[in-house]
Assembly symmetry: C2
């Protein structure tokens, strides 16, 4: 907080990070910010070498090609599926073959839900096959399905006002798309709210910023004491059509069949690999993405890209013969889509060493062209990250923004560890998210090169600086 004063000094950079001119650490005033700046500036050549290798050199397109090979071979990787476990085994081999260190799997028990066969047909006012995707954790319908009249609402408020109309119906939500974090509550809570007013099932307009008749799945959450009802997403197009029909007073009847079922939890793993630190091996900079995905498309964007630029960051550093002072640890999370299950397990296992975590990084919002780094940490740490990001001037990606949080690193951030997420051009992300459209066609090898370069420079420099990032 004191550090806010920094902004007023303009061009003068002889600022102190503790009172007077020096930084206190363990009671000792160690270095001025000017010294830290100089230290970071000394990584200019390393940063250029990483950028050259990733963007213009022989590592060009490697993360894209590695990712394509995995997701073409395995396909999507739902929590609890054989595909996910196959992907983990392949990655374990890949990381070993890449010459990374301490490659190992850390066991996690994860949910096992399958959608089974599913369909929805509009019976009135006309026969129309409705594209659906059951939502993760939803129960199924009876084998004969649920056939009921539809109540269309555009908000939870409207559902409350019309609660008396909902009993025995299928509630269709046609909520407008505002942004993902605001609109996703209809997917996560829609079934519970519909069940509270006596609905038999709920169909949720997909949380998507643009649609070509594509349903977008994702997790939903039941609530203790509220009946569980089947729930699926439908397309923006069908939600809007039913809304128009309802506004004309037309009766809509749908038959919904869902074979969704939750099985006992299964064994899975977080996949870990390292470049062990040369000077402070017990200290960690963590780079990560999640290996699981939804069961449609290829899970290429969410989060194959994040997982593979994280691997690529270590590969680039290793290829350049670099070994940072502290350990650079790659974690490929399992079961993120079920609520960060792998990440929670990892935190439980490793939180005893929390004082050794300098920075936790996750890429899980696309690997399109990066626009900067999202960061959560103290003002002092932010000032340091701004210097680190200035090393990316050759790529013109130097912004440090707020909100470094991500599902898989939040446990650490909430406990005070600085956290960073990759920010990229998100415009198209919610076109494809959790849909059949999340495939390699979305991915751009050149954009992945740049994303990997950013990821490698940030993680290497923070791992190699003389001091850990300050927490206050």
């Amino acid at each position: 907080m004191k550090f806010l004063i920094f902004a007023f000094f303009g061009g003068v950079h002889l600022l102190s990070l503790c009172s007077g001119k020096a930084i206190y650490k363990n009671g000792i005033c160690k270095r001025t910010f000017e010294e830290i700046k100089e230290e970071i500036a000394s990584y200019g050549d390393v940063a250029k070498a990483i950028i050259n290798l990733a963007v213009y050199g022989k590592a060009q397109n490697r993360s894209y090609e590695r990712l394509a090979l995995l997701v073409d071979t395995v396909g999507p990787r739902l929590s609890g599926s054989k595909n996910l476990e196959k992907a983990i085994q392949i990655m374990y081999q890949n990381l070993q073959q890449d010459g990374l260190e301490n490659v190992h799997l850390e066991p996690v028990r994860i949910p096992h839900w399958e959608r089974g066969e599913e369909s929805a047909v509009m019976l009135e006012p006309r026969i129309h096959k409705i594209a659906i995707l059951g939502l993760g954790s939803s129960i199924g319908t009876p084998p004969e399905g649920i056939t009921a009249e539809v109540l269309v609402v555009t908000s939870f408020d409207e559902l409350q006002r019309r609660a008396s109309e909902a009993r025995g119906k299928i509630v269709v939500y046609n909520q407008p798309y505002i942004n993902y974090s605001r609109t996703v509550q209809y997917r996560t809570q829609g079934a519970v709210e519909a069940a509270k007013v006596g609905a038999l099932a709920s169909l949720i307009r997909s949380v998507a910023s643009f649609s070509i008749y594509s349903p977008h799945t994702g997790i939903q959450e039941y609530q203790d004491g509220v009946p569980k009802i089947p729930t699926a997403c439908i397309t923006v197009e069908d939600a809007e059509m039913m809304s128009r029909m309802a506004s004309h007073g037309i009766k809509i009847v749908i038959q919904l069949k869902m074979g969704a079922k939750t099985y006992p939890d299964t064994d899975s793993f977080n996949t870990v690999a390292e470049i062990t630190g040369s000077k402070y091996p017990e200290q960690v900079v963590l780079v990560s993405g999640h290996l699981d995905s939804w069961d449609v498309g290829q899970g290429a964007m969410d989060d194959g890209g994040g997982a593979f630029i994280s691997w690529e960051a270590l590969s680039l550093i290793k290829d350049l013969g670099l070994r940072p002072k502290r350990t650079l640890r790659l974690v490929l999370w399992t079961a993120e889509e079920q609520g960060g299950v792998g990440a929670f397990q990892y935190y439980q296992l490793h939180k005893v060493n929390i004082s050794n975590y300098s920075l936790v990084m996750e890429s899980d919002a696309g690997t399109f062209l990066p626009t900067g780094l999202q960061f959560t940490g103290s003002e002092k740490a932010r000032a340091i990250m701004e210097e680190v990001m200035s090393l990316l001037k050759p790529l013109n990606i130097t912004q440090v923004l707020s909100h470094g949080e991500g599902t898989d690193i939040n446990f650490w951030i909430q406990a005070g560890v600085p956290g960073a997420s990759l920010l990229d051009d998100l415009y198209k992300y919610f076109f494809f998210h959790h849909s059949h459209g999340d495939t390699m066609t979305v991915m751009d090898p050149k954009q992945m090169n740049v994303a990997a370069a950013v990821w490698a420079v940030v993680s290497y420099v923070v791992a190699d600086m003389e001091e850990m990032l300050p927490r206050s």
Copy 2:
């Protein structure tokens, strides 16, 4: 051709369209171009009244709402389907109820093809359900399907070079998208070319400029003397994935099942309505769109929008109490998607009156925000159309471009009648074309208002001018 000289006169507008200062028609030098310009300029207030009514007044959003009601009620309208005939009957009633004149149906025999049940599953290298849409006129497979190895090619040239590899295989075309007219040959000719080299079936990458895992159907053409093989479109995503797999030497096996079948031709109709001309009722300005569509989505964009702005043009003119000197004829074509079947029948029936057709107009490339009018006709006629379009200055849509052709008006244009098509912002058109995504969600009521205003001004003024458009 003489008229090209016009361009060099700059601000001076006292140009003659025949030698000297006057225009010859039937051997009589009738009017100078300056006089025609003045005549057209005198429609300024009428044009403004049409624009005000359509864009800002009580007719706002009417074409959108009428269209939504039809396509929500009926759904898609494939040639030969009950849906199409239902839509024609509804439109017949709509046009009568709207108070239009000479509302009638002109019989046409049209093709009746149905896709039936269809599916494709990749069996090797991994199980993957492939989204397909059988192509119009394709034969089906045997009930047990066709299971065969895949040969992926990116062009007809590559298929020729690798002809010896094609026998007994399913040919997958992964041609790049250049533009619709250049790339669509793979859809129309892909099966024939594959059959010539002994393939059992062909799967065509959808002709789409952007994809969220959506297949795009359309007509395909068999050739006498070449075996008929089943053919369907697949998504851009799956075509690209199979291309990557093949480039790694991976064997791909697909099981294709198609229940497609061609039935005997059925009875259908072109739907016609008029505002009968006050002075030259035998002379015609034709405005049109097609009422049929593919059997997926709602046929809202292709070509519900074109059909409904054409109807709207007549409604706007009628609402303003206007009656042009010659007859304004609305035609809603049947079976355009099968190769302009309704339009061909209409031409056969009416070509005897061809000398009375002043202008044929079709909107079949979207009703997004119009950018101008595409026009085919003599230089003299083009100069007149440029004056007519200058009446649309209040909407800032005054361009007259080339290529007025359209499937349903080409017979007339080839026989010398001036023809015009609506040009609009085509950027997104091939995102949705012939796919499940062609729904009302694509349509924008405000853009349709503007398109209808352009359509009404052009058709009314050309129908009301003292003289028909010159053909030479």
